[in-house]
Symmetry: C2
Subunit: 366 residues, 2 copies
């Protein structure tokens, strides 16, 4: 990852460690209202410092609050890492919407190893649970770290079977707000056995429904590929699979009978191009060729100052938006202007609290 930093367009210090002051500054910015990972990055690119905001920003996180979060994190053994620091999953670090500070608890070195995500239904069948366990164990034996979402069902089976070989729980809430609560013991076992947990949310943040799709991008983002074991149609695991495909990750799906509704989602994924797998070897065969490949870096943004919008640009782009989420790519195409221009207007809207970013590159007006 160190060599990757040279080409990254977030202006990260040339050292691989933030100073305490920098970490506090970054934390204040990312914890301010209307600032998500993409906005954080845009602000850093656009204004060059954490102080900025041509529009009307919402509440800015105070320095005391940031210091308090840092202290609370440290008490829980959670480190807040920037994308270039050791312990930050390298494949996650290069994503557009990588958390500027990721809360990492447990064995940092685990996160630097190749990761396969295993996800699936909370109300899985006995066969699905058994398969998830066997797959996680076999992939673990082959040297892969297993990432999942600490949920009931498939997630739990995958974590349990990979506790010895290495497993990572990716949390939707803060590190002290485990969902479901009865999995606090499982998480303690994971951490106690050399595993890890990651979250982009502050200590004390109770996960809301919309935090789960957001969290799912971290599960797939940290991994070489995502295996969906059982999934009904329109289930959360399919969101993870879609995000994984958008991130360029391998998507694997375990087939099942057409008469089994818990296989409807995975069969559908295979129809859409996901790779059918029935054993760990299928996964390993598919990811081995990409393991040695250098991690693809995101394209540096153009100089944002060359794309300063005027009133007519703002009106045109805002006019294309409404309460129905629209794909950023579609918006850029319809706006018939540069992507950087569109992103700048979206940034202004976001800082003004008028824009909502959904998963999968979707945005809408609030």
């Amino acid at each position: 990852m160190l060599q990757a930093g040279a080409r990254m367009d977030i202006r990260i210090p040339s050292t691989t460690h933030l100073t305490d002051a920098q970490r506090i500054d970054w934390l204040r910015l990312i914890r301010s209202d209307n600032v998500g990972p993409r906005t954080f990055r845009s602000l850093i690119n656009h204004f060059g410092t954490r102080r900025g905001g041509a529009a009307r920003p919402g509440r800015i996180c105070g320095e005391d609050d940031a210091r308090a979060e840092l202290a609370a994190s440290q008490r829980l053994g959670v480190r807040l890492l920037a994308p270039d620091e050791a312990g930050y999953p390298p494949r996650l670090a290069v994503l557009d919407d990588a958390p500027p500070l990721l809360g990492v608890r447990g064995a940092l070195e685990l996160l630097m190893r190749p990761v396969i995500a295993i996800v699936g239904s909370r109300n899985a069948s006995g066969a699905g649970l058994k398969f998830a366990g066997t797959l996680a164990r076999d992939l673990g034996d082959a040297g892969f770290v297993i990432a999942s979402g600490l949920a009931r069902g498939i997630d739990q089976a995958a974590h349990r079977a990979s506790i010895e070989s290495g497993t990572v729980a990716v949390l939707a809430g803060g590190h002290d707000r485990i969902y479901p609560p009865e999995h606090e013991d499982l998480l303690a076992t994971i951490i106690g056995s050399g595993g890890a947990a990651i979250s982009e949310m502050p200590i004390g943040h109770a996960p809301r429904a919309r935090d789960f799709p957001r969290r799912n991008r971290l599960i797939s983002g940290a991994a070489l590929g995502v295996v969906v074991v059982e999934a009904a149609l329109r289930s959360g695991s399919l969101i993870t699979a879609r995000i994984a495909a958008e991130q360029g990750r391998e998507v694997f799906a375990v087939p099942g009978s057409p008469l089994d509704p818990r296989a409807a989602g995975t069969n559908d994924l295979i129809k859409q191009g996901a790779t059918l797998i029935t054993c760990a070897a299928d996964v390993i065969d598919a990811v081995e060729p990409i393991m040695g490949r250098p991690i693809e870096l995101r394209e540096p943004d153009d100089d944002p100052l060359a794309h300063e919008p005027d009133a007519s640009d703002r009106a045109r782009i805002t006019g294309l938006l409404g309460p129905t989420p629209i794909l950023l790519d579609d918006l850029i195409r319809m706006a018939e202007t540069s992507p950087a221009m569109v992103r700048t207007v979206l940034l202004e809207l976001e800082l003004a609290g008028r824009l909502e970013r959904h998963g999968g590159g979707l945005v809408s007006l609030i």
Copy 2:
């Protein structure tokens, strides 16, 4: 099919009906020892008449025997049709190894409609049987004729569910030697309800084990595509799928749990490129684009007289053969001579009773 005949290289009369005398002649040739469909075609091409044989032919079918078979067929309501005659399945007619005379019983017009084959395990699961029935019914409702092999399990379920809409039993033995015998009633129901049965074997021929793979090429050959519903590894349905792929047919497979051995074969087919299907619409979506496409004709052979082998050609090509079956394509490549030359030598070997043709383009020395 009529327009196709103009380009076909079997010298079929320009009328679309054989005369009685021609039908007897053709029957004598195809029922002679060491003469299969490909040899029949080669002989017609090579010698231009049914009398030929530079090598030592085996027993030649006598005219009386041929007349007796024709009469016995007629008593059973079986017509012996040449590839260009009405009632001969058009997609089957254009294959290299199309039976020169196909015994057809029942509704000829059914065989001119688009056909989907459904095959699978004899010892199918309840879920597999149910799925096969639903699929056959839905495809039948959509206007497709269902072809299968009259076996126990999936075949039987597919036939039963398509009796009203139209179903074709493809037999491995003669029309009076039904396998399994307890399906004689099912066949009677099929014929009595406007369905059909086809066989390339003479009346009285009891099916042997090796007749089933040979028969399977007719199941796939008559169809736009083949659906494999349940299949263990190394099962007969997978042979049908392989032949179907070699024939350029669509291969569809129904997925199942990796923990279900009856899905191992179908999951494997999907890994190898077969299309995963979970409902009739998946099949229809895939075959609709090819239904309107003209049937691809086989390439006419080169002039065989331009490739008359000499002693060294014979020795070289025969030397490449042994008791282990080898792909004809590989043989042609290794022989480093023209395909027509290789085929001529194989024809001579076959007429001499020294060559065995297996399914899937495999040949071996006897």
